[in-house]
């Protein structure tokens, strides 16, 4: 299981009855891996992530039932919860396992090959001078993998995934309104993954758009 399995983008583009997604899925309720509790689906389907974390007057409330107030709060129990095949009471195992993967990954896998073949411990530590600029994370996101606790590594991973998801916004012009409406995305040719200048500059978002 990974996050992207349910937060799809262009993977089903060429599939009959598929199409472009804005980091969401096609299910009524997203499937979860089989465990002895018998559950087969999550309580909800996967909410679209594009524009999901735009600042808004009422504050940020995530999941359709406002289960979480921040992306990091959402990501941690997702990595350590039922979506990733962990049962209630297995959070400590989940955190320990994730930290083990970060410590032991050697960058030889197919996923790493798309990201410079760098081991996770090198990328997350962030101090190796051989790390290319595109993969050298800023200091606030780094964690000294060699000395960090499992929880510190887990938090660092959650912060990075949080940064990734919060960067998912529709492309906009300088006035704010979207220039890439969802209907356009449904045509299947646009990823609509852009960075919003006003957001990066801390500028307010138009009220109508943030509701």
């Amino acid at each position: 299981m990974n996050c992207r399995a349910c937060h799809l983008v262009d993977e089903p583009l060429d599939t009959s009855s598929g199409g472009m997604r804005t980091y969401t899925d096609f299910a009524r309720r997203s499937p979860v891996p089989v465990r002895e509790d018998g559950a087969t689906v999550a309580p909800r389907n996967s909410p679209p992530l594009v524009n999901a974390t735009l600042p808004r007057a009422g504050g940020l409330l995530l999941h359709f039932d406002a289960e979480f107030p921040t992306t990091a709060d959402l990501i941690k129990p997702t990595f350590a919860g039922r979506n990733f095949c962990w049962l209630p009471g297995e959070s400590a195992q989940a955190i320990s396992h994730l930290a083990k993967i970060i410590r032991e990954d050697d960058g030889s896998g197919p996923l790493a090959s798309d990201f410079g073949k760098l081991p996770y411990y090198v990328v997350l530590t962030g101090t190796d001078p051989s790390i290319p600029g595109e993969f050298r994370i800023p200091e606030p996101f780094r964690v000294s993998v060699a000395t960090a606790t499992d929880a510190e590594i887990f938090n660092a991973v959650a912060n990075l995934v949080s940064a990734c998801t919060e960067g998912l916004v529709f492309s906009q012009d300088e006035t704010g309104p979207s220039i890439c409406p969802p209907t356009m995305c449904s045509w299947g040719k646009t990823a609509c993954r852009g960075l919003l200048p006003g957001r990066r500059a801390g500028l307010p978002i138009a009220g109508d758009y943030s509701r």
Partner: protein, 101 residues
């Protein structure tokens, strides 16, 4: 497997076309920097690495079972989690993009 933003050409073209039309026929290029212009420069590194973690399948308990049975962290997964084999829809499922992982 990496999502590379290569699909931005159509909206970029649309914006450029609208910008040209808005110049009273004078084909003026707007001066403000647009979001997609920034994106062309590449995502910040924390987003790039966050994306890699977003795609990582080995954090799941299913992979821990594999490790507990003697599998190695960097060893190719012999059989992926069956839940990844299909993408569930409100109709017929279609093949999952991460089948085998």
């Amino acid at each position: 497997m990496r999502f590379t933003n290569e699909h931005l050409s159509l909206p970029s073209l649309c914006v450029t076309f609208l910008a040209l039309l808005s110049g009273n026929g004078s084909f003026a290029i707007p001066s403000p920097v647009l979001a997609q212009d920034i994106e062309e420069a590449g995502d910040p590194s924390e987003i790039v690495i966050g994306e890699r973690l977003f795609l990582e399948t080995r954090f799941a308990q299913f992979f821990k079972q594999f490790v507990d049975r003697g599998g190695m962290t960097n060893q190719p997964f012999p059989t992926g989690d069956p839940v990844m084999n299909t993408t569930v829809t409100v109709g017929e499922p279609f093949p999952g993009p991460f089948a085998g992982y």
